[in-house]
C-alpha cells in the first residue's frame, strides 16, 4: 500500500491538492482512501458532498473520511478510564476523573490521536493507496516525528523496567514470590519480562512505533509539500524539508500552487508577479533534488470529482 501526505501552511490548497490527487489515483484503478486529519476539515467541500467521521464512498474506487480528532481523544480516554476504574478500586480515591480532565488537555494528546488515526487507516485492508490531508505544518511535522521521539523514550523506559524486574528477581530469589499490597489487597508481582504487563505494553508499543517510523521513511510513503510562490511560504517549505530530513523523511514533490500565470498582467499585480518569479528562481536554486510542479491560480476553485480530476490530469500527474 502507498501513502501520500500533503503538508503546508494553512490556506495554500492542501485539501484541493490531496482531493485531486486521490481522485486521480482512484481513476487510475487504485482503490483509494482519502482521509482528512486536519481538525478544520473541508474535504467535503472539495468533493461537494457531506463527509463524516465514518468512511464513505465518494466515487469509483474512492472512499473518504474526515477524522474527528476530539472525539477520538475522548473515546480513547473514556476507554482507559473505564479499564482503570474496573481494575483498580483504590483509584477512586485519587479522583481519576480529574486526572483524565488534565490528560484531555495535556500537551501532545492531539498529535498522539492523529498518529493513532494514521496508524488505523494504514492498517486497513483493501486499499492500494491512502491519501492524508494534513493539519497545518507544525502539527504534522510533530506527528511525523512522533514515532522516532517516542521510540527514544520507550527504549529508555524499557531499560529502566528491566532494572526494576531484575531487582524484583533478586528479592524473589531470597524470599520467594514477590508480593505487594495494593489498596489492602495482596498481589503477586512477577519479575519475568513476559509476565510484567508494563514491560509487555512497552515492548508491543515499541514494535508499533518502529513499524510506523519505517513506514514514514519508506519508499512507499510519499510526503509532499504544497506551497505558494511567496517569500514566507518558501522559507516554510525549506524548514519543512530540513525538519523532515532530520527524521529521515524525504519530501518527494513540491506543488507550487495558486501562482499568477498571465501573458499581459494588469499594472496592479505586476509587483506580485515579480515577487513570484523571484521566489520560483530561488526555489529552483535553493531546493535541489525535489520535483516542483506548478498549479496556477485557477479561475474557479475545483469542486466535485470531475473538476478535481481535471486538475489532477492537467497539473499534478
Amino acid at each position: 500500500m502507498k501513502t501520500y501526505f500533503f503538508l503546508g501552511k494553512g490556506g495554500v490548497g492542501k485539501t484541493t491538492v490531496s482531493a485531486a490527487w486521490s481522485a486521480g489515483l482512484a481513476q487510475s484503478g487504485l482503490k483509494t482512501l482519502v482521509a482528512s486529519i486536519d481538525p478544520a476539515h473541508n474535504l467535503g467541500d472539495a468533493f461537494a458532498v457531506r463527509i463524516g467521521d465514518r468512511i464513505m464512498h465518494v466515487g469509483n474506487n474512492l472512499d473518504a473520511v474526515e477524522v474527528n480528532i476530539e472525539d477520538m481523544i475522548r473515546a480513547y480516554l473514556d476507554e482507559i478510564s473505564a479499564k482503570m476504574k474496573s481494575t483498580y478500586r483504590y483509584l477512586s480515591a485519587m479522583n481519576i476523573d480529574g486526572y483524565f480532565d488534565i490528560l484531555k488537555n495535556s500537551p501532545g494528546i492531539e498529535e498522539y490521536a492523529t498518529m493513532e488515526a494514521i496508524k488505523k487507516f494504514v492498517a486497513l485492508k483493501g486499499y492500494d493507496a491512502v491519501v492524508f490531508d494534513t493539519p497545518p505544518t507544525g502539527m504534522t511535522i510533530r506527528v511525523l516525528a512522533m514515532p522516532r521521539v517516542s521510540l527514544l523514550w520507550t527504549d529508555q523506559l524499557i531499560k529502566m523496567r528491566k532494572r526494576i524486574l531484575s531487582t524484583r528477581g533478586m528479592v524473589e530469589n531470597v524470599r520467594g514470590k514477590f508480593e505487594a499490597e495494593v489498596d489492602g489487597e495482596r498481589v503477586v508481582l512477577s519479575s519475568s519480562e513476559k509476565e510484567d504487563p508494563v514491560m509487555q505494553e512497552l515492548v508491543s508499543y515499541r514494535e508499533e512505533l518502529r513499524a510506523l517510523r519505517d513506514m514514514f521513511s519508506s519508499e512507499q510513503s510519499y510526503v509532499n509539500v504544497v506551497t505558494m510562490a511567496e517569500d514566507l511560504a518558501l522559507s516554510e517549505t525549506k524548514r519543512i524539508i530540513e525538519s523532515l530530513d532530520t527524521f529521515k523523511i524525504r519530501v518527494r514533490t513540491i506543488f507550487l500552487n495558486k501562482f499568477f500565470a498571465m501573458a499581459n498582467p494588469p499594472e496592479e499585480i505586476k509587483g506580485k508577479m515579480e515577487e513570484q518569479e523571484g521566489v520560483i528562481k530561488r526555489m529552483k536554486a535553493e531546493i535541489r533534488g525535489i520535483e516542483v510542479k506548478d498549479i496556477p491560480l485557477l479561475r474557479k476553485s475545483p469542486r466535485g470529482i470531475d473538476e478535481l480530476l481535471h486538475v489532477y490530469l492537467k497539473y499534478l500527474v
Partner: protein, 92 residues
C-alpha cells in the same frame, strides 16, 4: 522429643524468615526507589518533570497500579525524609 523437634523447626523457620527479611530489606528499598522513579517519570505531567510523549504514558497507564501506589506512599512520607533514611540503615 517430637515436640522439641517441632519447636526447634519452628524457631529455625522464624530465624530463616528474619534473616531473609533482613537480607532483602535494602534491595526492597532500592526496588521501591526504582519503581518510584519510574512512576515519577511516566506520570510527571503532575510534577513538572519533562514527560514522555503522551502515547507512551497512555499505553502503560492502566498497568501502573503498583507504581502509583509506591509513588503515593513515597510522596506521603516526603516530610520525614530524615527518619526514612535512618530507618533504611537501621539507626535508632
Amino acid at each position: 522429643m517430637r515436640r522439641l523437634l517441632d519447636s526447634l523447626k519452628k524457631s529455625f523457620r522464624t530465624f530463616d524468615k528474619g534473616m531473609r527479611e533482613d537480607a532483602t530489606s535494602l534491595i526492597r528499598k532500592q526496588l521501591d526507589e526504582e519503581e518510584n522513579i519510574f512512576a515519577l517519570l511516566t506520570m510527571s505531567v503532575f510534577s513538572g518533570i519533562p514527560s514522555p510523549p503522551t502515547g507512551v504514558v497512555l499505553r502503560i497507564l492502566p498497568h501502573m497500579s503498583r507504581e502509583i501506589s509506591v509513588m503515593t506512599r513515597r510522596s506521603a512520607g516526603l516530610d520525614d525524609m530524615f527518619a526514612q533514611t535512618l530507618g533504611t540503615f537501621d539507626i535508632d
